[in-house]
Subunit: 271 residues, 3 copies
């Protein structure tokens, strides 16, 4: 039983599909609050979707739908993942749900959705958001037992997370760009709590992206450097972010969305 | 009396006008669920708006507002169309509401909105979404009689649908592109149920668009062809869609949004 | 106590941050209606944000959050502004809230938010929308006394509005472009009620933008001029707008978003 259902998709903001999912949910569970979380996941980008879904750590325990689903209509499973915190994550078995479960205490139960009475019939081959995931989340929010949705599955058989966690070395971190936003800010697979073990606010960081190397300060916020200067900060959802104050970091260093690069962080002492 | 009001506009997602319409509705009918359906109708594109509004077939009977209204402030009428299913469609008399009524049992009553007490006064010359359509839908959702909004009109006098239905020939269909999405998927004025009379999943289809001719399979979903291969499928709202798996069909064939082209579909036997 | 909270941001439509703010509000004040007003404020554009926020004049008295906040994490104050109409505007002290208060009877009380129990802890250095403004607005909507949020401040110390009002001369108005929309419509800092003192619907207006001079009619709506012709009208939120019917005025005259230009309006008599 949940009072909130969140929706994360790669449909693009303003897409009718999100509204139709609202309507499907409303019919099954009229009193739930439906909250649009990210609708701006780049199309088919499981990696970016997984990072954006991590935002549910800032939502109370709820039913969370994520539809970033290039394999819709193929044999990939439809999942319900129950977290230790009490969330139910509903979406495809392509790894997109996995990183978000880590900060919610991990997965305590996993189910494959196969019960046709939990679906909107006839089930379309291409829009499981409407026909499978939305009704499933609504049934769970309404208090039904997730075990009735299908069969329990071993969480070891789940498709893995679409990105690894960074490798934390002595005074260095080997990381990857896991997402970028429209301002060209670059998000890394570094957890802020791990960064804090190696670096202190005020330190200077050496960042290597391909052939480029730059020095930049590790601070608390964009506004602490001049306009157009780079800065590395804790992002607002528990990871590490590199940005240019009121500018475009990704463009400045030629980083493409989705491109996998290795970033080595070297501490050169407090500035 | 309806528990849901949907809003479809060409304002663009995140536009303040949609929020202001919510507020107007809330004041008149505080308990209704307002659902944003499509907000990404291309500006002034009555044809695309009409197709997107067909999605209301997947919403329970409700009051539906559609604001794609290049003639706002001119003499075009403001309409309420009551469908056999029990919906009330509210919007301008430019054809945009018509295709959606077809899958709801057709129009059983039509009214012109002229009653000033149903409007937000003073009525702006350019934002009837806020001043006419939103309050009208809210009054209907609150249980008022649509006949009190103005005068009954003959549905034969309504502006026609902005696109024809496809012509179904022996083994061929003469169709039109009625919409495209941001992935370059192309939507045709073919009803899936008519397609099923001519073609079976697994058939190969010859598609002609201007000077271009290609062969492509008729399948259930994108993922059944390799990445970058074209495919023709039933879309998720009852029509036929042509796409390239994780690619851009419209770009590949040089099809512009809104361009009217003739597509001839020829069955060449099962593949 | 308010039944509605509106949210205006420069996050971009579909951004997860907006959904997370909904969730924070819901937890504190479960029964309030959260309405997304503008989410399409250009990034960091305090001027455009201030104009878009003026739309709250069309929402009943409510708690209104505005997050256009390039100074987040620096020493700029977090504000609550109480209007004569009974609204509570919540946002940064950078001028973005000021123009909207003018049509709501002006500011009757102002507070700086400093009470840590009104915030989501720990407060992020870069997302005060979630950690300061959303919970503050929710507490006010739930009926808490704004005075408990921190300390009363003198409204004379507030950062000024990001744009001046136009200068109204004899038969001429010296104005500025305060915003543009995606259609290239240009919004001026002229109040419609002041325009009405100088010009009557049907007059011809001479408009000077840099080296360009054009004549255009002052009418009620776009549709009263031919497609691709320019027109000057009252916009739908109390200011003056210049547009090309179904075309792009800003492009035609080479006006960039945010560019400050002087427009002189000369009446040459009725057409």
């Amino acid at each position: 039983m949940h009072s909130i259902i969140t929706i994360t998709t790669d449909f693009g903001p303003g897409n009718k599909g999100i509204g139709v999912m609202h309507a499907v949910i409303q019919r099954i569970c009229p009193d739930v609050h439906v909250i649009n979380l990210a609708q701006d996941v780049p199309g088919f980008d499981v990696r970016a979707g997984a990072r954006l879904l991590e935002a549910i750590a800032f939502v109370p325990a709820a039913a969370h739908i994520c539809v970033v689903d290039p394999g819709v209509g193929t044999k990939r499973r439809a999942l319900i993942l129950i977290t230790k915190r009490g969330d139910a994550l509903v979406g495809p078995d392509n790894g997109v749900l996995i990183p978000a479960t880590n900060s919610l205490g991990g997965i305590v139960k996993a189910f494959e959705v196969t019960n046709p009475t939990w679906m909107l019939q006839p089930v379309s081959a291409i829009f499981h958001g409407r026909d499978v995931f939305a009704p499933t989340a609504a049934h769970i929010a309404a208090g039904k037992n997730p075990a009735d949705a299908g069969s329990a599955i071993d969480s070891k058989t789940l498709a893995p997370a679409p990105f690894p966690e960074a490798k934390y070395r002595h005074q260095a971190i080997e990381a990857e760009v896991i997402d970028m936003n429209s301002y060209g800010n670059v998000f890394l697979n570094i957890r802020a709590e791990e960064m804090h073990k190696l670096a202190t606010i005020g330190n200077t960081i050496k960042l290597s992206a391909g052939a480029n190397q730059i020095l930049l300060p590790y601070l608390r916020t964009f506004g602490e450097v001049p306009v157009n200067s780079p800065v590395i900060i804790d992002d607002d959802f528990g990871r590490i972010e590199v940005a240019v104050n009121q500018g475009n970091f990704a463009e400045a260093l030629g980083i493409d969305r989705g491109q996998e690069i290795i970033l080595r962080v070297t501490l050169t002492g407090a500035d």
